[in-house]
């Protein structure tokens, strides 16, 4: 057993941190709230760094790495609130790779940007494959692939949909089986949706008789794995944001004085920051679990990834509120970074089933195994 990062993993992480440090992503996150054009296009950075092909096998032109390496990159993106379209791209790329789709080399290269139109696998309360509704608490059916090969349906709040070149859509076939269908951007209608966190590219995606290519060899287990991969990536991204929130808050707590003492010497502040650390440590441990399960314990991957997502969502919620609170009034102002982390927390925890569904899945997996 060795849970330290390997040299390659450390290198990947450090290189990501370095590459992302060249762009003022946090400042851009603020500007983009008022001017979407202020958001830098980080896809070229992702291409150059080889992130696009991270999960594509070497045979298909990728780096052949695993989920944990992808999480390391996501954490670095989260650390600086960088809006890179990896949450949509990476799970899609792994499905295209599994199916040996003709586009996979271009996707691995980053010449084509892929978007995963995810569906939540059935559980013991909800027996269908479901996707995000535009509004409200009732999830809706995944798109349907008719027997003539055309795709119909609508999926709301799809991460990284705007501007994607190829969509990998989880659908149900005419006979009710879950399938993956690759659809070119031309056949997809994408309505851009910006909510609260301008760095998060979202779209409502509609298929109205779109022609799709059925991905062969990709069935329920692979589709579930892709869903939980997305959960892990979102968790990792949140972890990175937690780490920044903690570091910035700790620094401020050392230098800000009140009643003659640095505020970090007060238990209320100190214990709250240690609570952020506790949630951070828990989340990191669960990401290790998810990374390990992805490779070596496929039966536990749903549990591990859901637990990581649940932990990360809670951690970022707490950390971003603590960041505001430790900074006193100034932490709630537009010019401060804390609100940007708060925005990230609020929107992220409601995407892809939300933290609530992830927590329920943890219970569901454990209850089913009991």
């Amino acid at each position: 057993m060795n849970l330290e990062l390997t040299d390659e993993q450390s290198f990947l992480r450090d290189a990501a941190r370095e590459a992302l440090s060249r762009v003022k992503t946090v400042a851009a996150a603020r500007e983009a709230l008022e001017d979407p054009a202020a958001l830098p296009d980080l896809w070229p950075t992702a291409r150059e760094a080889g992130w696009a092909g991270l999960l594509v096998s070497e045979d298909n032109g990728g780096a052949g790495l695993s989920a944990f390496e992808a999480m390391l990159v996501m954490a670095e993106a989260g650390r600086v609130l960088a809006g890179i379209e990896l949450l949509g791209h990476l799970p899609a790329s792994s499905l295209l790779d599994a199916a040996g789709d003709s586009r996979v080399a271009a996707v691995a290269e980053g010449d084509l940007r892929a978007c995963f139109v995810a569906a939540q696998p059935p559980g013991d309360l909800e027996r269908r494959w479901t996707v995000e509704p535009p509004s409200g608490s009732v999830r809706v059916d995944a798109p349907v692939l008719a027997s003539d090969g055309t795709l119909r349906g609508r999926v709301a709040w799809v991460p990284d949909a705007p501007g994607a070149d190829v969509f990998v859509v989880v659908a149900t076939s005419a006979d009710g089986e879950p399938v993956a269908v690759a659809v070119d951007a031309d056949d997809v209608s994408v309505e851009r949706a910006v909510r609260y966190d301008a760095t998060r590219s979202l779209g409502h995606v509609s298929f109205e008789g779109a022609a799709g290519v059925l991905l062969e060899g990709v069935g329920a287990p692979e589709l579930a794995r892709a869903w939980f991969l997305a959960q892990s990536l979102l968790a990792a991204e949140s972890l990175g944001a937690v780490e920044t929130a903690l570091a910035v808050s700790v620094a401020y707590a050392k230098e800000r004085f009140t009643f003659g003492r640095a505020i970090g010497s007060y238990q209320a502040v100190k214990h709250s920051l240690v609570e952020v650390l506790r949630l951070r440590e828990n989340t990191y441990a669960l990401l290790l679990y998810a990374g390990w399960a992805y490779m070596d314990k496929p039966d536990e991957f749903a549990l591990a990834a859901s637990a990581a997502r649940s932990s990360a969502g809670h951690a970022l919620d707490y950390a971003s509120r603590a960041m505001i609170s430790v900074h006193g009034g100034i932490g709630a102002t537009w010019e401060h970074d804390a609100p940007l982390f708060f925005r990230r927390a609020q929107l992220s925890r409601r995407l892809l089933g939300g933290v609530g569904d992830a927590t329920d899945r943890v219970a569901s997996e454990l209850l089913s195994a009991a």
Partner: protein, 404 residues
Amino acid sequence: MDLNDTPEQVHYRAKVRAWLHEHKDEAPAAQGEDDAAYVQARRAWQGKLATAGLAGVTWPVELGGQGLGPIEHVIVGQEIVRAGVPDILDVIGVGMLGPTIIAHGSAEQKNRYLGPMLHGDEVWCQLFSEPAAGSDLAAVQARAVLQDDGSWRLSGQKVWTTNAHFAAHGLLLARTDADVPKHKGLTMFIVPMDAAGITIRGLRQISGEAEFNEVFFDDVRLDADAVVGGVGNGWGTALTTLMFERLTIGLGSESLGYQAERYAAAIATDEHARLDPEVRRRLGELCVQLLAVKFTGYRMLSALQQGQIPGPEAGLAKVTTVRAAIDAGDLIADVLGPDALDAESEWAYMISFLPGLKSAGGTEEILRNTIGERVLGLPPEPRLDKGIPFSELRAKERAGVAAT
């Protein structure tokens, strides 16, 4: 124990309701753009309310008020909410700063300022907090220096100032002696907001709106008669304002809009969520808190009516309200999804606003210290700033930062 109106209160309520019914068409919208025309309309409406006796209900009659009790004040507030019209514009002036001038001001100050304040002719702002003096208010650094002619020269910065951009006057806490311990070298001033050397800048919050202002003072001249309550007595004067602040927040809680019914209505629109036990548990828990705050408010009102002054534990109601409203925002966004976070949504504004409210106005942590010490009688934190001249204290803090 009786929560119902007395016959006199029934009569008073009816009178208030009748007036509001008759005049509600003259009122501007309850929410409006933050522009000059809207402010003007709100000021005019305040004037009408004041003339009708619906502003300054608890102010003494000889100073233009009604000389009535806190219950009548609340009755007016309830009827204003019920009529769907806006309350007075200058809640801070009439609720907190006016009473401070009534308690500590000179006869000339009362004559000059209270009438125009009550009628909305002159709006006021409160210039207490600074970037480095929030919960530790006695640490203010804005400096007023006495001149040979008896006037003062003021320099420094204030922050979190509501209404500064259209206020005529401000009540300002400044340091006039840095060589004595920090609570002792403070003086309260009335500042004309159009004086030379004042710069006002809107301070945007998470939501993007400028709820507050920063106000900068660059060698601003204040007349000798600007002093309220005596030179060096600023801390005592400020405590009066803070006491009225607590009162205003406590009595005004119903109009904050953080009500159990409102959140339940939002959840009730979702047929699936309203039957979900997990949603209901969360809704139930936060509504329990808000119902408790509502009746805590009545308790406070009842105590006030008996002549008691509410203690610091009254601040717990705000803690409870903010927490419960945060939980409500969370729950509603979980149920409604990302659209609840849309810039146009009423919930996005609340979700953005509350984290700041939690830190503002004396943080929850300081409040808990105060209540623990003054209400429960627990021993104080070790204080490292006691009896030390303010100037030395600042030097020590700077040394502390450099050492870490």
